[in-house]
Symmetry: C2
């Protein structure tokens, strides 16, 4: 337990005297298209800290991605929730979400460009250590951050939560980012993509890990997905908490 | 960071004033066969704490399992490294290890009986909270602890590191234990067993998770396995450290 005590003392010293969550809506552009992102950080720090990009689900930039950005800020990171679709564009139902995301699933260059624009906004934020960047994403956003890894973006790591793993334009070189992927063990929407993803990672000698949570279906981190797994999408508290903890461990390693 | 500070304070309070690792060789029996286990705990505590059973690799009870028991004791658990083969029986080469383990792979009843005898010894140790027990195992020992889960042993959790997952006598009811399995992404010895294992877990609605570490081969937690993955067995520091941390998170959850 001596190590615990030493760790605890170190944590106490690092804790800011007056932690305060700060957030800011950030407009930025892709050509003529206005995008609306959301920054979150804790100004109880005065030092530079790692920056985390947050990629939204197929619905679009909204409360869920903003909540995750705030959770990351409370952990001491500077976070930026990007916008893939455009300011104010948020799907009203599954059909619209499928159309909005489908355009980017079919055009990986566009997906990569919009993701990189979000990353550029993250780097502009206060207190970001540009040598310590990572990206996380949910569902469609999981795919988005994996595309950043595939294109060789200068990130320490990417984390995909229940993302679609299929890669029409797979990585051809070893990604700079370490890759952590979290899937539901009963997620019929993404499990078929696993073998292809694993082969892709092996071929380019990526640093990757994959965790499968038994009993979890798609959207297992999203409370708004409800509690009925038979619909194919449902919240799973255990898998949500475990994957968040696994992400924290992953960050501790890559930012060490 | 306020939560960090609160957590750190709690950890400081819980840390014992004079932590001291204690160990003890324990002889016990299966009929006429003498078995030699190894207990490890920290007597800086005076309260009851969770007990962890440690199941050895195919070599037999030896320094590796003892080291893991000591590591667990330093984390505040009471640990017992069991003996499956008999006092002083330790394979001198792969061939002998294959024979010794093969007898138990072929006789799951014998495997379960020896594992349960080890569990009984764990319960006798000082400071064990019998309502908070778990078992971890490596390689052959991973299979051993999974057999405990399959037979419905009264454990909060089992953790298998690079274990053989094939189950000639699969679980027929939901295991009491939550199950965490850690595999190497290039472990040709155990990967073929994954689909069957996942199906087994789904059928009995087990609480399970599986993590695959890209680039790791068999024995990835064992420094003595060397550093040449082309042999099929090699140490992988990253996968070793990640899986140990994942085990700690798993324990934090199941003993909460």
């Amino acid at each position: 337990m001596k190590r615990f005590a030493a760790l605890a003392a170190a944590v106490l010293l690092a804790a800011p005297a007056f932690a305060r969550l700060r957030t800011k809506v950030v407009d930025y552009k892709d050509g003529d298209v206005v995008l609306e992102g959301y920054a979150a950080w804790d100004d109880g720090f005065t030092d530079k800290r790692p920056g985390i990009l947050v990629a939204h689900e197929w619905w679009g930039h909204g409360p869920y991605a903003r909540k995750r950005a705030e959770m990351l800020a409370k952990l001491g990171y500077t976070a930026f929730a990007l916008d893939m679709y455009g300011k104010g564009v948020y799907a009203k139902d599954h059909e619209e979400a499928g159309k909005l995301s489908g355009a980017f699933f079919a055009d990986r260059n566009a997906m990569r460009r919009r993701a990189m624009l979000g990353l550029a906004e993250l780097k502009k934020l206060p207190y970001v250590d540009e040598s310590k960047l990572a990206a996380i994403g949910y569902c469609f956003g999981g795919t988005t951050v994996l595309e950043l890894a595939r294109m060789g973006a200068d990130l320490k790591g990417v984390v995909s939560f229940h993302g679609n793993l299929a890669a029409p334009t797979p990585a051809t070189e070893t990604p700079k980012a370490k890759i952590a992927v979290f899937q539901g063990g009963d997620d019929q929407m993404t499990l078929p993509g696993l073998p292809g993803f694993e082969d892709e990672m092996r071929k380019v000698k990526a640093d990757w890990e994959l965790t499968i949570y038994g009993g979890a279906v798609h959207s297992f981190t999203v409370e708004e997905a409800g509690s009925d797994p038979s619909t194919g999408m449902a919240y799973n508290k255990e898998a949500d908490e475990r994957s968040w903890q696994a992400m924290r461990d992953f960050f501790a390693e890559i930012f060490r």
